[in-house]
């Protein structure tokens, strides 16, 4: 039963990504050219509602299902890992024109070349695991 819920959330998310064109290479390119408000509108409005919602959750101590605490942990403080990791991610995001969520969505949409991108992403994750301890964090 729980798995049906997660499957439904995934389907819902996949449809949003595809229908909003956030999964389109063209939209990512256009965003980095600052030639359209579309992607900024998506991220900005999600964020505005997200910030307000999280503040409400914290203020009224709203619990997750089953009375558990919401999964809102502070992230470990650092600059190097977020900045360097972020720049590396951004280079790939712009080159492949897709971030992880949309990659899966595009598989379902039948763009099988994206499987090569996902293969590359798995390899990148694996290599990070190998060299992790040698990198500044």
């Amino acid at each position: 039963m729980k798995y049906i819920s997660y499957l439904t959330i995934g389907i819902f998310f996949g449809i949003i990504m595809y229908k909003s064109e956030a999964a389109s290479w063209f939209r990512i390119y256009e965003m980095f050219q600052f030639e359209s408000f579309h992607m900024y509108g998506i991220i900005g409005s999600a964020l505005a509602i997200g910030v307000i919602g999280v503040q409400i959750i914290k203020k009224y101590k709203i619990k997750a299902i089953g009375g558990n605490k919401m999964n809102l942990h502070p992230k470990t403080k650092s600059v190097a890992r977020y900045l360097i990791g972020g720049i590396i991610f951004g280079l790939g995001w712009a080159l492949a024109g897709a971030c992880p969520g949309p990659m899966y969505v595009l598989v379902g949409a039948g763009y099988y070349s994206i499987l090569v991108v996902i293969g590359g992403a798995l390899l990148g994750t694996f290599v990070y695991g190998l060299v992790k301890n040698k990198l500044p964090h």
């Binding site: 909003s20 470990t76 990791g85 995001w93 492949a96 070349s113 590359g120 992403a121 290599v127």
Partner: protein, 186 residues
């Protein structure tokens, strides 16, 4: 406007993404799509090579189910809810055509020049897809999250680390599009 068939404007999509995040928070989980890659590495036996992959991936099964859902969602949306053409700013479409020979803006969802299956035999295209993916996977784990984990979840929780990461995403993206694309594609 035909909501079922036309592309969704930002003010529909953004709030629905926030809703996705709140549903996952209510379920006691977190919204983040890149941690799945680590889970898949662990399932594939990467724990033999690095302790980074030695964790209880079974606790992450829910997130893999979300991935399966996202694939199905992509199928449903592309088959029944879209004409699979993305219209962008005509100036950008013109620039793509003039500078890089990418002529498919307005005609396709992804440029076939890069994503048509028959172009996979082109080493240049193959390299772009693999390197692009590699940087996304490596960078997402190094930064501890991707667009969903940092730009949506982390920033919604007013996390400074997420702001640094998102600034990094844009530095990297702008370097790629404005400095490296002209070198790679022309």
């Amino acid at each position: 406007m035909n909501l079922l068939y036309d592309p969704w404007p930002w003010y529909v999509a953004g709030p629905l993404i926030a809703l996705t995040m709140f549903i996952l928070l209510y379920a006691g989980k977190q919204f983040g799509m890149s941690s799945n890659l680590r889970t898949m590495c662990s399932i594939g036996g990467a724990g033999r090579y690095s302790d980074f992959f030695k964790f209880d991936w079974r606790a992450q099964r829910w997130n893999l189910i979300v991935v399966v859902g996202a694939v199905i969602g992509g199928f449903i949306a592309s088959q029944f809810m879209s004409d699979n053409k993305v219209v962008i700013n005509p100036d950008v479409a013109q620039q793509l055509s003039t500078d890089y020979g990418i002529e498919s803006a307005g005609e396709a969802y992804l440029p076939p020049e890069l994503f048509a299956s028959e172009n996979l035999s082109d080493p240049f295209v193959l390299a772009i897809l693999i390197i692009g993916g590699f940087l996304v996977g490596f960078g997402a784990r190094y930064a501890g999250g991707c667009t969903s984990g940092h730009a949506i979840s982390g920033l919604s929780n007013l996390q400074l680390p997420s702001l640094i990461a998102v600034i990094g995403f844009f530095i990297g993206g702008l370097i790629m599009i404005h400095l490296l694309f002209p070198l790679i594609f022309s």
